[in-house]
């Protein structure tokens, strides 16, 4: 019944979820918090609503991954 489990995970919502607009508004700050503590624990502690959002929004998680990589690479 793995399919039902997968459906269940997809349908679950987190009341802390701040939505795309607010998550993207501070994505650069969140990313630097992750760069300061690569475990992500500090970013999650400071911005639990953003963490909750990134766990369930594929497009914002994609943007987060991309921003994290370029910020880490410091292309400047």
């Amino acid at each position: 019944m793995a399919g039902w489990d997968e459906l269940d995970r997809f349908l679950q919502t987190d009341p802390r979820d701040v939505g795309c607009e607010q998550a993207l508004q501070i994505l650069h700050v969140y990313v630097e918090a992750v760069l300061d503590d690569e475990t992500g624990a500090e970013a999650a502690r400071r911005y639990p609503g953003v963490e909750a959002h990134l766990l369930s929004c594929g497009p914002c998680a994609e943007d987060y991954e991309g921003l994290l990589l370029v910020a880490r690479a410091d292309l400047a």
């Binding site: 399919g3 039902w4 919502t13 501070i26 700050v29 609503g49 959002h53 292309l75």
Partner: protein
């Protein structure tokens, strides 16, 4: 008024004040100070800074499009054209909004965010140039594939389709139904749907958020899923 489980409904508490920016303002590092001085200046020094910013963001756009290769069909000159468009629009937005930079991060991290978001937006719009599925196709036979159910598990596939389809028909509003079917059943990328409907990612996500919550509650009430502690807690759905 927003319900407590609307995404964004509790940003102040959840994010430590996201609406105001969410981070801590700090003294700019040397590189940030140089960018701000040059872009906020005038004449040839500003023009050179804008040009350097464009070069930098073009590298980021190319890197980001390359990282996403395999999740979009674009290659060759068309890909580079998209990178240029993303860099162009990001530079325009950054120079327009320079006064909104709050010093909560390095300038470059703030600037990279613009171009990464431009890449997403442009990929969403590009989807409709060669769409792999039409809007409102509603091929429910695809649904079990989204959740990893094998084609040979006929009974499980049939049960899941019937249960979800019934809940979608009975519980969702017309707009929630259309968005859920487009994204989950038809597999249209969320940013592509945003472009097609002329909406915003946040608006479509909120529609999906409410749809997911309603569907889960309905499937739990009908014994397909286990009721969660949140669903059993009446406080969870109260408006704050």
């Amino acid at each position: 008024m927003r319900s407590a489980d609307d995404p964004g409904g509790d940003a102040g508490a959840a994010c430590g004040g996201v609406r105001g920016g969410g981070g801590t303002r700090r003294e700019p590092d040397e590189q940030t100070a140089q960018w701000l001085a040059a872009l906020g200046g005038s004449g040839s020094a500003r023009e050179q800074a804008v040009s350097r910013l464009h070069e930098l963001l073009l590298r980021v756009a190319r890197a980001e499009l390359g990282r996403r290769a395999g999740r979009h069909p674009i290659t060759g000159p068309e890909l580079d054209d998209l990178a240029y468009q993303a860099a162009d629009d990001a530079v325009l937005a950054i120079t327009t909004k320079l006064g909104e930079f709050r010093g909560e991060s390095q300038f470059t991290t703030w600037a990279y965010r613009f171009v990464v978001l431009e890449v997403s937006s442009k990929l969403g719009r590009h989807f409709w140039q060669r769409p792999t599925v039409a809007l409102d196709t509603a091929d429910w036979e695809r649904l079990p594939d989204r959740f990893g159910i094998s084609p040979v598990d006929h009974a499980e596939r049939r049960d899941l389709i019937a249960a979800v389809r019934r809940a979608v028909d009975q519980e969702l509003t017309e707009r929630q139904r259309r968005v859920f079917i487009a994204i989950v059943v038809d597999g249209i990328p969320l940013d592509a749907l945003v472009a097609q409907l002329g909406s915003s990612r946040n608006a479509i996500y909120k529609i999906m958020f409410d749809a997911r919550r309603k569907l889960r509650a309905a499937l739990a009430a009908n014994g397909y899923l286990t009721a969660s502690a949140q669903e059993a807690d009446p406080e969870h759905h109260q408006v704050r």
